[in-house]
Assembly symmetry: C2
Homo-oligomer: 134 residues x 2
């Protein structure tokens, strides 16, 4: 889908605890640093839909598993990617894409978003979950 990109990330094994890559400034999916924050999503719960007007998100799931749904309202297309311990990839989502996400593991589901702008409630819009099919 236009405006959505997946990147495989390294997990480096270590006997005292592994190291997980997230994002480097020299990667093509880096669009600047405005804010980094975590969101958690309980198992079976869904947050969404939300569309950002200016934010590009870089999403990584270091703990648990999360299903991300992206909807393009021009083409009426919805795509889903599961990210997390089962599939350690980074999802880059540009502005203008509707997104919802569901917690898929029974324990903690943790999402890191490295956003190109700081949080600004005026640059995002929300609609209820029933607006688009998952």
């Amino acid at each position: 889908m236009d405006g959505v990109e997946l990147t495989t990330l390294k997990r480096i094994k270590h006997p005292k605890g592994d190291v997980y890559h997230a994002l480097r400034a020299n990667e093509a999916s880096f669009f600047g640093f405005g804010e980094a924050y975590f969101t958690t999503i309980l198992c079976g719960e869904i947050k969404g839909w939300k569309k950002h007007l200016r934010m590009t998100m870089n999403l990584v799931v270091p703990v648990g598993n999360v299903c991300f749904y992206m909807h393009n309202e021009d083409t009426h297309e919805t795509v889903m990617f599961e990210l997390g311990e089962r599939n350690y990839q980074r999802l880059t989502v540009g502005s203008g894409i509707w997104m919802a996400f569901r917690g898929c593991s029974s324990d903690i589901n943790l999402v890191l978003n490295i956003a190109n702008i700081p949080h600004d409630p005026s640059e995002s819009v929300n609609v209820i979950l029933e607006t688009f099919s998952l």
Copy 2:
């Protein structure tokens, strides 16, 4: 300790899963974005000592609890801070400070480092754990 700073961070309650602040570009402890990565540390294990020559670290523990030990070799001072679910703060560590850290919870202990430069093995030095007291 000079070169070490603690900042209280917000955890915002949400019925579907809480949101945790990490770092915004307009905060005083932001020194640029070079790379974000995770490191995990098993319960009771200690990684360290390591000293960065150019990197400033911004450390956040969204899952578990981690004890960070910082040693200033000029003043022979060691300080410890526990960060994590019990004490959700951000630890900013400038270059030139020796650091070691221990996993303090029995399940996952996850550290996010938002570093001002990308990983570069030539800008850090390691000594064995016995070099300085914890």
